[in-house]
Every structure is written in structure tokens, then in C-alpha cells.
Symmetry: C2
Subunit: 356 residues, 2 copies
Amino acid sequence: MDDRTNLLRIPARATRALIADCFVAAGLRQTDAARCAELMTEADLTGADGHGIFRLPQYVRRLNAGGFNKQPNITVTKTAPATALVDGDNGMGHLVMSRATNEAIAIARETGVSWVGVRRSNHAGPAGLYAEMPAAHGMIGFYAAVANANHMATWGGADLLLGTNPLAIGVPSGDAPLVFDMATSIVAYGTVKKYALRGLTMPEGWFVKPETGEAITDPAKSHEGILLPMGEYKGSGLALMIGLLAGVLNGAAFGRDVVDFNADDASETNTGHFMIAVDIARFVPLATFTAEVDRHVRDLRASKRLPGVETIRLPGDRRAECRAERLRDGVPIAAQLLAQLDKLAAELKVKPLRGR
Amino acid sequence: MDDRTNLLRIPARATRALIADCFVAAGLRQTDAARCAELMTEADLTGADGHGIFRLPQYVRRLNAGGFNKQPNITVTKTAPATALVDGDNGMGHLVMSRATNEAIAIARETGVSWVGVRRSNHAGPAGLYAEMPAAHGMIGFYAAVANANHMATWGGADLLLGTNPLAIGVPSGDAPLVFDMATSIVAYGTVKKYALRGLTMPEGWFVKPETGEAITDPAKSHEGILLPMGEYKGSGLALMIGLLAGVLNGAAFGRDVVDFNADDASETNTGHFMIAVDIARFVPLATFTAEVDRHVRDLRASKRLPGVETIRLPGDRRAECRAERLRDGVPIAAQLLAQLDKLAAELKVKPLRGR
């Protein structure tokens, strides 16, 4: 992403405040609005541009259209000593996954590991956001979700039956946690939307036409195509398995039942996720673990490099760099998005972004 | 793999019997030898050619050189209600992982989910073998391991610090379980060894020279190169995270500490694995789950296809087809491997393969 010409820089406290005010104006409880704003801003700060304030107009549209429950009663059913099933009551995914992750951490403290399944949730932003949370408690987080639209086909297929179903793993270190966050598609769909918004051309190998298998490089035409999986059949197989574990296991949507939340603002999505938390100290003392992680990270960073490679990047590096840079310089907002946000602020009668 | 000219077909009962006899002659307990033979034959039947009888000469070499403990005392320490740490006492990996998987299933029956970490184990064959086991108990299996040699570098790097660290997930259906089994490298190293044995040329994009980044296509020269990860930085990141979860978390080897078991027959490898088992009935009735899995599988199979694609293949299809075909026609054994096995049988004074 190198087209920065039409990007403004807005301080994170301003984007966070706009998001929170819009959600309150749209009918969310004050604390829920603040939590969603916090997590969406964290997405923006850590470089998940397709998951932060970019989604605000769409989320408000869904709240207005009845697609989200504005004031959900999220319930947790303990189904065994180490498992729970969370029913999100169709609330904002951020609220549901915050609750589910807290539950996973609390259970794992007692039982060493926990698996919390989630049904009736919604789009919750970048996977890394939740996988990272257990790290602050000396735990490993392992998160996956069924994506909210089917942009992929199974390998060799031409019907859109699979989402970009992401997987994320967070691991504490002596420094910032390592956060691995991967879409099972060759690229995250949020990135495609960002390309469209910025008028950029996509590389070949991202999308193909279902009829001919030819490449599509215009992001505005991506809806006519099939998003290809990461690593050919591997990404497609992993997207399927995540669909079964995060969707079917929880009685949540997968495959043909997935509601395309980009096209439909009103229908409940019944989004599924799962979170595994592992209490490190049940296996090895936490300090031993983080020291060993640090040692291996040092080895990898000090590695000889292939010709033309300047820096070795490890999972979480880009997030951390981006976070520091954007806290200092502000969140980049495309002119087109800014116009959408101004329109939204006017409609909801809240202060616009640039007045904050 | 289309060079079938120098392949003989040997019945699975004959390969299984040879493996068991060789292991007993090499000093394993009768039941342990039988268990290893069973699992290695299952690897051969299901198409994991780099993990079956192909490994027998190397395993026997390691047993003779003291690299494996012939009669290990495998111990299980319950570290929390839902977690356990298995110490393999440097026994054959197949024995250690069989024990660990049984433990994972037993714990998950009580607590809904279990996480069993393993240290001081060894190469245990294809990941799918273990991920599939919980399915027969109405459970999901989720397995990963630190590979027994570092053939990969971190993305952009030129030092061999990462293995092909595999990940496998097994899910029951109304029919055979779905088994997803993926190396985090672009190709499994066993496949490379198979190419070498059969004198085949590797495609570009599998190995590069560390000094220049140029492709290596001669499998005999693969040891001079770097095996590339699946999906570029994604495969490398996932290999690292698996290394931390299956290695470091268990006090097992990772990174610089990995012993290359292809080059060193005598040193203990301290191989790490983990197995997660999830009891499906704690989330949704098992029959509901398998019926839903079947429905989604039907949808995917009936999918329209891209031009030139004959059949949609799902995780586990190739295993199942291969198993049926090889049970009928026998396990394919390359002439060069057969010669090695004849030599081994003579050394151990057991009946050769073709006399069985």
C-alpha cells in the first residue's frame, strides 16, 4: 500500500471519540459503545485498516436496519469444566468476543486450557485483537472465526462457499507479545476493500473469474470473482476446518448459510468464533517460557538474510511499529472515507471528525 | 508423482510384518514394535510415503546408535484438570504420541477439552495419523509438532532455523473423518526425499539457494538450499508459532536446538508435540454435528468447478482413496528402497519383504 497521497492523519483519540459517539447515537449502551470504539481504534492503530473506523458507516447502517441487536443480553453457558458456549444475542461482535475471551481466560486459570465457542455473534474486527488478550495474563490465545461473507471457493471450485476464515495466535514474550494473524485467503478481504477505496490495482493471483479462471485486478470488480486461498489447497482446507470448528460446532453459520453482511444490513449473521486459552505456567514457569521465546526471537532476527531483504519481520512486528507510528502521527484516513464519516456524523448529529 | 515405473506393489500385511520383526530384532518390546508397525503401515496406506516403511532403515539405525530409547518409560503428568505433560523418555515418537492422544481423549471426556503437551519424543510420522484418532471418540483432534530438522528459514532469512512444523485437524463426519494435514512448508520434506529416491525433478519455488535466492530443482541438492514456506510469510509465521506451542511450551527443542535426525543418529532429539481434543457433544449433539458436516461437504462437492478441474477434493479424500487402492493393490515400494529393506532384513536376520 504505497498510495498515501489522499490520506489524512487523524489522532486516535479523535477517531475513538467519533466511533463511541456514533454508537451511542445509534442506540448502544455507553460502556458498550466505548468498548467497541476502543477495539476498533486498536485495529486502526495496529494497521488492520479494513477493520477499524472504516467499518463504522456499515456498522451504523446495520444497527439502524436491525441487523445488530443494539442492547444484547450476552449469555455464557458452562458446558463442561473447561468449555463454554457463548450466545452473543446478535450483539456487536466486539462485545461478544471481549466477553468470550474474558471467559476463556478465567476458565483456563482453573483448568489449564479452555475452549470457548461462540454463536450468534457478529463481525468482530481483526483476529489478532482477541488472540493477543490472553498474553497479558500469561496465557497463549488461539482464536478463529467464520468470516462474514463467502469470497472464496473450495480449491478447484467456482461457487462462493468459503470465507477468509482467519486464525490468530498470541504468545507472550519478555517484550510485546508475538501475534500471528492470518486470513486463510491469499489476502484479507479488508485489504481488497482498502484497495478499492484508494483506487489501487490488485496484483494478479488474488482474484479469478469463475467462468474462465482469468485474473481480476480491478478491486471494484472483485465481487465478480473468486478470492484465492493462501497456499492453494492448504488455505481452502484450513478455511473449511475453521468453518467446522468455529461455525458448525457452535451451531453458527457456515457455507451456504453465511449471510453476506456487505450486501445485507438487516439479517442476523449468526457468526461463530472460538477462543482457546492455555495457561503457560501449567507447562513451564512463565519466566522460563518468555526467556526462551526471547532467545529464539533473537536468533531469528539475527538470521542471515536472502539477497535484497533488508529486515527480518516476525509476527507482531508490523502491528507494533504501526501502533507506535500511528499513535504519534495519527490514523490515516482516505479522503473518500472522511467524506463518508462526515456524512454519518451529520446524520447522527454528533461532532465531525475534524472538529475533535 | 507420476514416475511409477520402478515401483513394486507389496501387500500391507507384508510391510507391516517386516517393520514389526525389524523393530523386535532391534530391541523393541513386542507390543511396541507392533504398534509402530501398525502406525507406519497406516502412513503408507494413506499415502504419506515419506513417513512409512521408507523411514524403517533410518529408525533402525537410530535404535542401534542409541538415538532412540528402545524400551522407554513414558510418563504422564497431569498439570491441571484439563492439561497434561507427557515425557516420552526418548522413545519412538509413534509410541509417545499414541499415549499422548489416548490421554487427550480421556481428559477431554471429563473436561470437554484437553491440551496435552509432549516433550522428549521423536519423529512420529504424518500429523494426520494422530489428529484423526479422537474422531472415533466423537471428538475433534488438533495436533502439531516441531519437525525433526530445520529445512526452512524465517521469511526473508537465510539461516535454517525453522522446520516444516506440521498442523493437522481431524473432524468426525457421518462417513470417514475429515483429516486436514498440512506442512507449513510449501511441500513436506518427506515428499522431497521421495523425489530424490525416484530421481524426479522438483518444481521451481520449493527450494532456493541461500546465497543468491535462485531455485534448486534437483532433490539431491536440496540440502544446499532453503525450503520455502507455504503462503510466503504466513507459513513461516505459523511454523514459528507451532515451534513455540509444541516445542518451547513443553521444554522441547525448537530453532537452533533442533537435532537434524537425518544427519545425526545418536543424539536425543527432544521432539515436542501437542494434541488438543474437543468433545463435540459438549457443544452440540454429535449426530447433529456430523449431519451438518455432511451437509456442508455435499455442498462443497457439488460446487461448480473452475475450467479444467475434474473433481473437488476435500481434506481426507486422497487419504481415503489411497487407502482403499493400496489395501487392494499393495503399498508402492521403489526399487532403491526395496534394496535397502532387503539389506536391513539380512542384517537383522529377519525374513525379507518378498518372502512374506
